[in-house]
């Protein structure tokens, strides 16, 4: 599905370059469920943003569906994000002015889906994450776990092939975090959605068939034995 070859990312801070990613190689396959671990500040989110087409690497090759993303225009990147990728954030990132249903609708708005269809699809996604009875609630009327479910519904509504979750359980307690993980596992198993999860929690990483660790700006593959195919 996607392939990163020798990805570098550095930030210019004053006169010096701060190298965060220093030659990341990673291949993510269809139907993968991959966890990325690593110490704080090691560059996990930086990598995730690059995978999610929100940021561009300083150098290296990123093939998405065998196409080099550097060639995409800004509008094409937006469309790709919209069609291909669903984001789940640690802080949920729901828009507080909008109801749960309206939040879920956002990705469809940018596809010009007719309102009636949009509401129907959003509603069925809320049902899938068990939040259909809270469709008219605003984020501040929902618990953290509920908000994250709505956020997952939003990530799913566009039928993306890939879900990128940056510490999705980081703001939730263990029990609710486990529920969210179950949801991801179901989606991966039943719908074949590729899932990449960043986490600090080894317990969560262990639940993934595959996990990698970010170390010194590079990725180190861990439990390859769990996966049939090697990177």
């Amino acid at each position: 599905m996607l392939k990163l070859i020798d990805i570098h990312k550095s930030y210019k801070i004053g006169p010096t370059d701060l190298a965060i990613l220093q030659g990341v190689d990673l291949e993510v396959f269809e139907n993968d469920m991959l966890a990325i671990m690593g110490t704080s500040g090691s560059g996990k989110s930086t990598l995730m943003n690059i995978i999610g087409l929100l940021d561009k690497p300083t150098s290296g090759t990123y093939l998405l569906d065998d196409k080099e993303i550097m060639q995409y225009s800004d509008d094409e990147l937006s469309s790709k994000r919209n069609e291909k990728i669903g984001f789940v954030f640690q802080q949920f990132n729901l828009l507080s002015r909008l109801t749960a249903l309206e939040n879920v609708c956002i990705p469809l708005i940018y596809r010009d889906t007719p309102t009636a269809i949009m509401h129907k699809q959003a509603m069925s996604m809320l049902k899938k994450v068990g939040m259909d009875d809270r469709a008219d609630h605003r984020p501040n009327e929902l618990s953290g776990g509920q908000q994250q479910r709505v956020a997952i519904a939003r990530a799913l509504v566009g039928k993306p092939a890939l879900i990128l979750a940056d510490e999705p359980t980081g703001a939730l307690d263990t029990r609710v975090g486990a529920e969210i993980m179950e949801l991801f596992k179901t989606l991966n198993r039943d719908e074949g959605i590729t899932i990449v999860i960043i986490t600090h929690d080894p317990g969560i990483a262990e639940q993934c068939p595959r996990y990698v660790i970010m170390q010194d700006g590079k990725l180190v593959e861990k439990n390859l034995q769990n996966k049939g195919q090697a990177a």
Binding site: L54, D74, D75, S78, N82, L95, R97, Y110, T115, R154
Partner: protein, 397 residues
């Protein structure tokens, strides 16, 4: 492309920051309101001052003695008399009404009250040419030739501060040691800048009476009306030729209502434009208010922009979202401003006793200007929002 959802979205986000929205609305309201009020007032005032002029018709011309630069003896001797006009209508058939006028100035006494009064000497055609109406009594006719009969303009004794009342009819007024009987009282007469006399502020008698009793040889003016299908301007030379044939060296100046009207209209347009320009200053201030609100809104909603970008919004989507918001703000303010502007111009018309008219031009302008203000002052903040890097936006809070 503007989506329906971005309109409801914009409405919501404006509602969410009510205070700022209201402040921006007030700014734009006052701006549009003052432009509309200024332009409306400009138009009302122009209309007011042109109305009477139009009422008098554009077929009106005035013929007066001109003064040539080459003041030779023949032009000094040439006199603009009643006799020179006798065959004017015959020789220039395009003229269908012709009214020679002499003017004088006198002291009067009426029932012991003394004062100054303007005098006009006329022929009966004066009445139809000036569209005069009677309040009481009768008009002066050719039967009043050399007779001491006068009719009074609606405010003939204005200089003496005496109102003209109907009981003056039949009374005798003394002027220049002679007595005149008041036989008619006129209603308010329409005015024109073209006329060198003021019917309303005058006592009016037959031209022969004025000439004889006040010893006046030369005409003050000859007013004339032109047949409908003839352009007044085309007659200027013909008329001048006519008079120079009648009286060698007589220099004639012909003014047409049409020319004068055009001139006045031009001046009035300039006047209206000037008022509009003054109003626009506050509009600019209002526009800057909109821009400020939008800039703050963009800064406050960086995170939202980032989230939307992550979910697939293109730069143009973000740009439109903020542009729509700015436009709603300024058009809403504009709509209220139009109402305020119309209200203010209405009140001003009532207070100043002007004939009120609704200026559709001003309303159209208001709608046009407020949406352009929205686009103009909303564009920069919207551009700033669209230009934001998704990651930077997403990281901010």
């Amino acid at each position: 492309m503007i989506r329906k959802s971005s309109i409801t979205e914009a409405g919501r986000s404006l509602y969410a920051s009510k205070q700022r929205t209201i402040l921006a609305l007030i700014g734009i309201m006052i701006g549009i309101g003052s432009v509309i009020a200024m332009i409306s007032v400009g138009q009302i005032v122009s209309n007011e001052s042109l109305k009477q002029f139009r009422d008098m018709g554009t077929d009106l011309i005035s013929i007066e003695k001109g003064y040539s630069e080459t003041d030779n003896s023949s032009s000094k001797k040439a006199k603009f008399t009643l006799d020179t006009t006798k065959t004017l209508k015959q020789q220039i058939p395009a003229i269908h009404l012709m009214s020679p006028v002499v003017t004088a100035f006198g002291e009067f006494s009426l029932s012991g009250i003394k004062g100054d009064v303007n005098l006009i000497g006329i022929t009966p055609e004066f009445i139809s040419l000036n569209k005069l109406k009677l309040r009481a009594g009768r008009f002066i006719t050719d039967l009043d030739r050399n007779q001491p009969y006068i009719m009074l303009g609606a405010e003939a004794f204005d200089q003496a501060n005496i109102p003209v009342t109907e009981d003056m009819l039949g009374r005798e007024i003394r002027m220049n040691k002679r007595y005149y009987t008041i036989v008619g009282i006129l209603e308010d007469a329409p005015k024109s800048e073209l006329m060198s006399y003021q019917t309303n502020y005058s006592a009016i008698m037959h031209i022969s009476t004025t000439s004889r009793n006040f010893n006046i040889i030369e005409l003050a003016t000859v007013m004339a009306r032109i047949k409908e299908n003839v352009k007044p301007v085309s007659l200027i030379n013909t008329i001048q030729d006519y008079f120079s044939r009648k009286q060698q060296g007589l220099n004639i100046r012909v003014s047409t209502a049409e020319q004068l009207l055009k001139q006045m209209e031009k001046q009035m347009q300039l006047f209206t434009l000037l008022l509009g320009a003054i109003g626009s200053i506050s509009l600019v201030v209002g526009g800057v208010g909109v821009m400020n609100v939008m800039l703050v809104s963009v800064t406050e909603r960086k995170k939202e922009i980032g989230i939307r970008r992550a979910l697939g919004a293109k730069r143009s989507d973000i740009q439109n979202q903020f542009l729509v918001e700015a436009m709603i703000l300024s058009m809403l303010g504009g709509a209220i401003g139009i109402v305020i502007g119309i209200g203010v111009s209405y009140v001003l018309s009532i207070v100043n006793n002007w004939e009120y008219m609704i200026s559709y031009m001003a309303i159209l302008l208001g709608v046009g200007v407020s949406s352009s203000v929205g686009i103009f002052f909303g564009y920069y903040p919207a551009y700033q929002a669209a230009r934001l890097d998704p990651i930077t936006a997403l990281r901010s809070d």
